[in-house]
Each structure stands twice: as structure tokens, then as C-alpha cells.
């Protein structure tokens, strides 16, 4: 008995009851406790021998209700839940939320804040790709890659700590600007990092790119054509690895990205190896952007000068009554955002992470919806794995680079 799922140009046929030689299909459950599913993802797989006949992802094991939680928090407090959905790129999530709120408020942040935002976004993109590379490597057996990647990631986390006090969930980028200015030590660390990182990426490429085992595990595995990728709503390296030239930083720029000189990483291969090359190239381009950002970092304030949104400096509270009132209002009720709705998308390591906000004019959001890149990228796992073997399946889950916090929110 065949069941077909038809969706305009794409048919997924699942043979429910019989395998190739008349045998039965075996249903195997991957996860949610599984080292290779990149989080608490459950995949129910029908196997015909070693070949996959259908994949049904079951999600929701990491659902923590952050969208509901954001409705209970004030506008300035809700930044902290944005850190936690795509937990490998917290500043990028913060940026989507901050830009959305700023658009509703109708304010624009100073130049220095924009450049700092770009710096944090690119550092996070690097950190996220390093996790992807390390974990994909170790799933395919390349164990040393994990250690090397996490060594660099630790440098980035140290920089996060220097600038915001937090290693991972920084909440650094907030509506109105950023949390605090970059310290001289941070800029120093960043300068050293920019010099070191390209050599490290060369090391990873030395280990992997021409490695015959790595190549045979990834080449022609996990084919996702450009039409399939666009149809399924995949974004990020899933699209660019299939040759679709779409990067939000170029096509729908934000936070000053139109002023930076970088290339969009593309690959026509449509397989896992192509996506690997895309992400490696993205890491190199991120370092280029960091260098440009560091060179052009202007002096100036890092927050918008609006006392209705951001609290006054503590010294002012001693002399100005108005400052005391602003401080009080902001820390009790919080600021209100005019009614309306907005969608702001940013490019994270996984693809399009966006924040849709519906405001009802009060001091808390009415609805915050996080458009999660991984939610849609996960749906590409099934078309890519049909007919493949389990070993390829592991490589395919790795290439999709899903973060379950994003999928489940």
C-alpha cells in the first residue's frame, strides 16, 4: 500500500508495508536520547534492510514555551527569551528581536551600535559553524575536529564574556542599542582572533576537505535540489549549498550589512559536501567582515538617546527629577510600543531566523513569533534521506544543522 504526499512538484512515496524483496519494513526509533540527532529529536524511520523508506520527525521534546513567556515579560525583559531558542546563536536572535522592536518604535541606533551588532553577529556565526563542524566531524568519525573547533569556540565565548559578562546567552543586543560598550580588552582579543582564525580554518580544511573518507561519506549524499530547497522553505546553507544565491545580509540587509564587502558562499553540488564547503567559506567571509567592522568601528554612543526607552545613567539620578521618573517608569512598568506588527528576519548560521511581533500598545508584547530556520530545514531531512542507508542518514542530519531549541522553541 503506497501513500503519497503530493505537494506541487514534489512527491514523497512511502511504501508502507513491503520492502524490496517482499519482506516487511522495520520501524526504528532514533532518539530523542541519541548522540547524533543534534539535540532531543526523535526520528521514526522505516527501514527496508539498510535503506530508508520513510522518515517521520517527531519534535516537541524541547518545547519550553518561550513565545508564551515573551507575552508575560515586558519589552525590555523579553530579550532574554530570544537568546534561548537558537541557542548556538544568541546575539543573532537578539538582533532580530531588537530590530523588530526598533522598527515598531521608529528609532534608529547609533553607528557604533550597528557595527558592534555586526561584530557580535559574525562572531556568533563563526561559533555556530564551529559547533556544526565539530559535531558533524565527530559523527562521521573525525574526532579531532571536535576538539579543534571547540578550542576556537572557547576563544569566541571568552570574547562574549568580556563584552557582556555571559559566555553563551549574552542578551547583548537589545532594543535601543547594545548592552554595554566594547572594552579595550575585547577589541584586543578580537584583533588577535582575526589574525589567528584564518589559519585555524586552514587547519580544518587540511584535515577534512581532501580527506578521502570524509569525501566518500559526504559526496553525493543528501541531495537537495534547488527547487526542493525553495519549495520546502529551507534557508541558509541548505539553500546556498544547492546553488540558490540568497543571503539576507545581501538581499535584505540590516544593521549596516550593505556597507561590508563579502561574498555569498555558494555551491552547485546540492550534496552534503557542497554544504560543508559553503559553511567553511562562510566562516572565512565572517572573518573578513569582522576585520572590516573592527577597522571601521566609529566612536560615539552605543545606545539611542531616548530616556523613554533606555534608563538614564546612574549619576543623573542624583540631580535630575526627570531622570528619576524615567528610571522609575522604565524599571517598573517599562516602555510601551505603539500598536502594529512587524517581521524582521536576520541571517543566522542556519538560515533565516526571524521575529514577528504583534504589539497592542501596552508594555508587554501581545505575540512574539520566532520564525525558526531549523523548523523548516528539518523538513528537508526526509526528501534527502529516502533510499539512502543509515550511515548516510547520520551525515544528512548533520548537514541539516538543526538546533532543537529553534525547532521546538
Amino acid at each position: 500500500m503506497d501513500t503519497q504526499q503530493k505537494a506541487q512538484g514534489m512527491t514523497i512515496t512511502r511504501e508502507q508495508d513491503h520492502g524490496a524483496f517482499g519482506g516487511q519494513l522495520l520501524t526504528v526509533n532514533f532518539g530523542p536520547h541519541h548522540p547524533s540527532t543534534h539535540g532531543v529529536l526523535r526520528l521514526v524511520v522505516d527501514l527496508d534492510g539498510e535503506q530508508i523508506r520513510s522518515v517521520r520527525p517527531v519534535i516537541g521534546y524541547l518545547h519550553t514555551g518561550i513565545e508564551k513567556q515573551a507575552e508575560a515579560l515586558r519589552w525590555q525583559q523579553a530579550v532574554v527569551v530570544t537568546d534561548r531558542h537558537d541557542y548556538l546563536s544568541p546575539p543573532i536572535n537578539n538582533l532580530a528581536y531588537a530590530l523588530a522592536v526598533e522598527r515598531l518604535l521608529g528609532i534608529d541606533v547609533p553607528e557604533r551600535a550597528k557595527v558592534l551588532r555586526v561584530i557580535m553577529s559574525e562572531l556568533t556565526r563563526l561559533s555556530s559553524h564551529l559547533v556544526w563542524l565539530g559535531t558533524s566531524g565527530i559523527e562521521l568519525g573525525a574526532m579531532s575536529v571536535l576538539m579543534y573547533c571547540f578550542r576556537e569556540r572557547d576563544t569566541i565565548l571568552d570574547m562574549n564574556e568580556e563584552i557582556s559578562g555571559f559566555r553563551m546567552h549574552t542578551s547583548y543586543i537589545r532594543p535601543g542599542g547594545v548592552m554595554a560598550d566594547a572594552t579595550p580588552r575585547f577589541l584586543d582579543m578580537l584583533g588577535k582572533f582575526i589574525v589567528e582564525m584564518p589559519k585555524r580554518i586552514d587547519e580544518y580544511e587540511d584535515l577534512l576537505t581532501a580527506n578521502p573518507i570524509f569525501r566518500s561519506r559526504l559526496i553525493d549524499v543528501g541531495i537537495l535540489t534547488a527547487e526542493q530547497a525553495k519549495l520546502l522553505g529551507a534557508t541558509g546553507p541548505m539553500l546556498r549549498g544547492s546553488g540558490v544565491n540568497w543571503d539576507l545580509r545581501k538581499n535584505m540587509p540590516y544593521s549596516g550589512y550593505e556597507g561590508y564587502d563579502f561574498e555569498v558562499a555558494l555551491s552547485d553540488r546540492c550534496d552534503c559536501y557542497g554544504r560543508y564547503l559553503v559553511r567553511i567559506k562562510e566562516m572565512r567571509e565572517s572573518v573578513k567582515i569582522l576585520e572590516q567592522a573592527l577597522n571601521r568601528l566609529p566612536d560615539g554612543p552605543v545606545n539611542v538617546d531616548d530616556r523613554k526607552i533606555l534608563p538614564p545613567p546612574r549619576e543623573e539620578l542624583e540631580t535630575s527629577m526627570e531622570a528619576v521618573i524615567h528610571h522609575f517608569k522604565l524599571f517598573t512598568e517599562g516602555y510601551t510600543v505603539p500598536p502594529g506588527d512587524v517581521y524582521q528576519a536576520v541571517e543566522s548560521g542556519r538560515g533565516e531566523n526571524g521575529c514577528y511581533i504583534s504589539s497592542d500598545g501596552t508594555h508587554k508584547p501581545r505575540r512574539v513569533k520566532f520564525r525558526a530556520a531549523s523548523f523548516y530545514n528539518l523538513q528537508t531531512v526526509e526528501p534527502m534521506s529516502l533510499g539512502r542507508m543509515i550511515a548516510d542518514f547520520i551525515a544528512i542530519i548533520g548537514t541539516a544543522d538543526t538546533v532543537l531549541g529553534d525547532v521546538d522553541r
Binding site: 504526499q5 503530493k6 505537494a7 506541487q8 514534489m10 519534535i59 516537541g60 518545547h63 514555551g65 513565545e67 508564551k68 513567556q69 507575552e71 508575560a72 523588530a100 522598527r103 515598531l104 521608529g106 525553495k230 519549495l231 520546502l232 522553505g233 540568497w246 538581499n251 535584505m252 500598536p339 502594529g340 506588527d341 512587524v342 517581521y343 528576519a345 533565516e352 526571524g354 514577528y356 504583534s358 497592542d360 500598545g361 501596552t362 501581545r366 505575540r367 513569533k369 520564525r371 523548523f375 523548516y376 523538513q379 521546538d408 522553541r409
Partner: protein
Amino acid sequence: MIAEELITDRGQSAGDEWVTVDAAQIYRALSSLKDEGYTVLVFLTCVDHLADPSREFPGRFELVYQLRDMDQLRDLRVRTFLDGESPEIESVHELFPPANWDERETYDMFGINFSGHPNLTRILMPDDWVGHPLRRDFPVGGEIVEFSEEHDTWNTAPEKA
């Protein structure tokens, strides 16, 4: 253009273009917008306007579809309004495959029934969960903090929510 006839309202919000269509016409409207070039569904979700103090809405539940034209680099937000305890609307998963999981999530969180959906089951909450968590009359829950503003709102329904 078929799309033009079906649009009941339009406007701009914070730089985003939006249009409103009738809930019964959603499939035709999205289909003709897809023909016009908006080939990508970025996301679809719902907003619950229960006890909204700012504006009057034609219905309690607002379904939001964000469409994108990748060639012309433009986005369009399509909004439609539904009412009732178990509102129903046609599924658009055949036009846009990403809607499949999005509709399941909207059903799970808000209780909107998408007719024609191949597998309308809960996706984020456990399968035996009762209630639709993102509705405004579903409490946020958590430990009550005495003498705080949230004391009442987190555990009671509409007017304060």
C-alpha cells in the same frame, strides 16, 4: 488580478506591507499571489486578540501568512480573521509545503482547524495535551509572586491578560 478583488484591506505597519483577505478566500488569494511571484511562504502563525485594548479587530484570531517574492525582494503579509471556539480555515499546504508543519503548530497552540490538512495533530505539545497554550485565556503558569503586578495576570483569564 484575482488577488486584487479578494483583498479587503491593506496598509503598512513599521515598513511592512500587509493585506487582509476573507478567511473563506484564503486559498484563492494565496494561490493568485503565488502566481504573481510571491512563491515563498516565510511563516504562518496566529495572533490572539482577546481583550486587546488598542484596536477593534474583525475576529479574535488573526492568521498571518508572510509571503516573499525572492526575485523582486519584497515581502507581503496576508492577514485573515477568524472567530469562534474552534475556528476553521482551509489548509494551504498544497501551495506551500512549509505550511504543513506551521499549520500543525498553529492548531496545537491556538486550536485553529485547517481543513484538508493530511495530518492535523499536535506537534510541539504532548499528544494527549488538553487545551491550546498560546491562547490568551490559557494561563502562563508558574509560581505566584506575592504582591507583584503579575500576581493576578499570570493565572487568570481575559480582561487582565
